[in-house]
């Protein structure tokens, strides 16, 4: 009955997203904001696999993001390997990092897991800063410029990047859907609801959470490569930072509703333009004011609805469809 409507909404959204850039300046500021919003929505979606479906509140996704950015860029700078290949290498490294991190931390709950993952992100930031002769250290690293080409993942205008990020968001969302509607999704939701009961009816809880963590980490690393190619320059703070990446990404999924397909879309559509606007209008006036606004926004959102964060996890009509649909 609602089948036509269900596929209609995404189709219309996608059509709008495809056509919109044609009406915007290909090198302008608005399209750049939209491109970043798409990238961050995709990151929120990747986080959602671990943070939403498995309810493991990671505050260390910057660790994976930075691995992706640094791996592809260092490969490009030092060996001339295409960023697309570097993206795969970064995703593989992040998957390995996720396995190593998961072995000691997956059994931790709530605050402890958040603390451990936070420490992981910070470790990566410190290493990237300290390993100067390899990573370029705190001064950061630039992506060498090469002519406009999809093969080199480099474009002069923002518009092609917009389409790449849109494709990335669609792909990550499809990955989220595949996990959510597949066996793994059922297992993760069962674990989230009651881990002991899930174990007793045959779910290997460690393996399921590990799988979610590896998928999420490698997608996040691939997006890190996208970020490096889009921004041309980054330093340890911008890709491994706690506030700029780890918290922002988690927040995007949480504000929009964790564990839901549309949550990261809503979160990114709301947060990224809001940040950009405060940066644009206030940032030049006083340093720190946009970050302050961001912190206050976070506080206000939670004070208005402290239970809202979990209320969002209680299935409503839209969510149930996602879960039940074959």
């Amino acid at each position: 009955m609602s089948v036509p409507r269900r596929s209609l909404v995404p189709a219309v959204l996608l059509a709008v997203a495809l056509v919109a850039p044609l009406f915007l300046d290909a090198r302008g500021y608005p399209i750049r904001v939209l491109t970043f919003a798409l990238l961050f929505a995709a990151m929120g979606q990747a986080w959602n696999i671990v943070g939403g479906l498995a309810a493991q509140m990671s505050l260390g996704h910057a660790g994976f993001f930075g691995i992706g950015a640094y791996t592809s860029t260092l490969l490009l700078v030092r060996t001339g390997v295409s960023p697309w290949v570097g993206m795969i290498a970064g995703a593989a490294l992040a998957a390995l990092a996720a396995v190593l991190l998961s072995i000691p931390t997956l059994k931790l709950k709530g605050h402890y897991f958040a603390l451990a993952t936070l420490a992981f992100g910070e470790v990566m930031r410190v290493v990237a800063g300290a390993w100067e002769h390899f990573t370029g250290g705190p001064q950061g690293i630039s992506v060498p410029f090469s002519p406009d080409s999809l093969a080199a993942f480099q474009f002069k205008a923002t518009r092609p990047y917009y389409y790449v990020m849109l494709a990335a968001l669609v792909l990550v969302s499809l990955a989220f859907l595949a996990v959510s509607r597949g066996k793994l999704g059922y297992r993760l939701r069962a674990i989230r609801a009651n881990q002991d009961a899930a174990e007793v009816v045959g779910i290997g809880t460690f393996r399921a959470k590990l799988a979610a963590s590896v998928i999420s980490a490698s997608l996040t690393a691939a997006l890190g490569t996208c970020y490096a190619q889009l921004n041309y320059f980054f330093d340890p703070e911008t890709v491994f930072g706690l506030a700029p990446i780890s918290i922002r990404v988690a927040l995007i999924a949480i504000v929009g509703g964790t564990g839901t397909l549309w949550g990261p879309f809503v979160g990114a559509a709301f947060l990224i333009p809001a940040e950009e606007l405060t940066n644009h209008y206030l940032g030049a006036a006083v340093a720190g004011i946009s970050q302050l606004a961001y912190g206050l926004l976070l506080i206000v959102v939670i004070l208005i609805e402290p239970r809202g964060l979990v209320a969002l996890r209680i299935p409503r009509l839209g969510r149930r469809k996602v879960e039940v649909a074959p």
Partner: protein, 286 residues
């Protein structure tokens, strides 16, 4: 020899880490809240002491009670306006509220004080006592002594006063405490304010050897959690030991690794402790 010197330095620095982290563990022990913003009270304490020095000419060590008082009042207000409202909310809400606070406080400082690094000049800044082959830095020693004094004061407060006992009772069993006429909400507020005050006090006493900037709190976030987790989250005695251990690890690791990696060693210890002994190193041993 370098190792022994690093050990001594580590213990002296670690004493301050202990006091800074006492506040965090007190808040968790009594309220069950992990306050990610807590490190900002180090920064607040440092600024209070810096302004006391710049305007009144007061030595940071003497200004440390002022830092305590300022953070105490500010934290009491924060508890009343924000923390209290998420006490029963799920951890995710608590984490993000305090993370929001972490970001907001840092940037308020950035807007108000600017991004300059500020330091004080004292007569004893570069002084050192000679003890055989070892040097004892005077500012380290002074900070350590004041930290030890404040830890002792906290201990007396918790053991000997009605408020201290009431706070411990609330930490153990909120319902039972309420039956004895203790208002748990008041105790939470007191614990939060006291914890912030102690941490700000620690910030003030390190000002003679660490410069202050709006982002200085960030250097302490993971350090404080490491100390607290080493000692067992919520364990006040454990935080003292954890602080000393963390100071020694950090200091001794610089003997073997480049200085940029001193925090890395600490992080690795942190993750390892979280993973293998989340109840703390001491729990179940003593």
């Amino acid at each position: 020899m370098a190792l022994l010197q690093a050990l001594v330095d580590g213990l002296l620095i670690g004493g301050v880490y202990a006091v800074i982290s006492l506040g965090l563990t007190l808040v968790f022990g009594v309220m069950g809240i992990v306050n990610f913003a807590h490190a900002q009270f180090v920064m607040i304490g440092m600024y209070v002491a810096w302004f006391a020095w710049a305007t009144l000419g007061l030595d940071p060590l003497l200004a440390s009670p002022l830092a305590f008082a300022a953070a105490f009042v500010l934290a009491a207000a924060i508890e009343r306006l924000m923390i209290r409202r998420v006490m029963r909310a799920p951890p995710v809400a608590q984490v993000f509220l305090t993370v929001g606070l972490l970001i907001a406080l840092e940037n308020v400082a950035l807007i108000v004080f600017g991004s300059d690094f500020r330091s004080v000049r004292t007569t004893y800044q570069t002084a050192a006592l000679r003890l055989g082959p070892l040097f004892l830095s005077v500012p380290y020693l002074a900070a350590f002594a004041l930290s030890a004094a404040s830890a002792a004061a906290l201990w007396l407060f918790l053991q000997r006063t009605w408020y201290g006992r009431a706070m411990r009772a609330t930490a153990q069993d909120r319902m039972a405490a309420a039956l004895f006429g203790i208002d748990p909400e008041r105790m939470y507020q007191l614990a939060f304010a006291l914890g912030a005050g102690l941490t700000a006090f620690g910030g003030a006493v390190i000002l003679p050897y660490i410069t202050v900037s709006p982002s200085v709190g960030g250097q302490f976030v993971v350090l404080m959690f490491t100390v607290v987790v080493l000692g067992g989250l919520g364990d006040v005695g454990g935080a003292l030991v954890g602080g000393l251990v963390a100071g020694v690890i950090q200091s001794v690791s610089t003997v073997f690794f480049p200085i940029q990696l001193q925090n890395l060693v600490l992080f690795v210890v942190f993750v390892a402790v979280l993973a293998f002994r989340p109840q703390g190193l001491l729990r179940g041993v003593a």
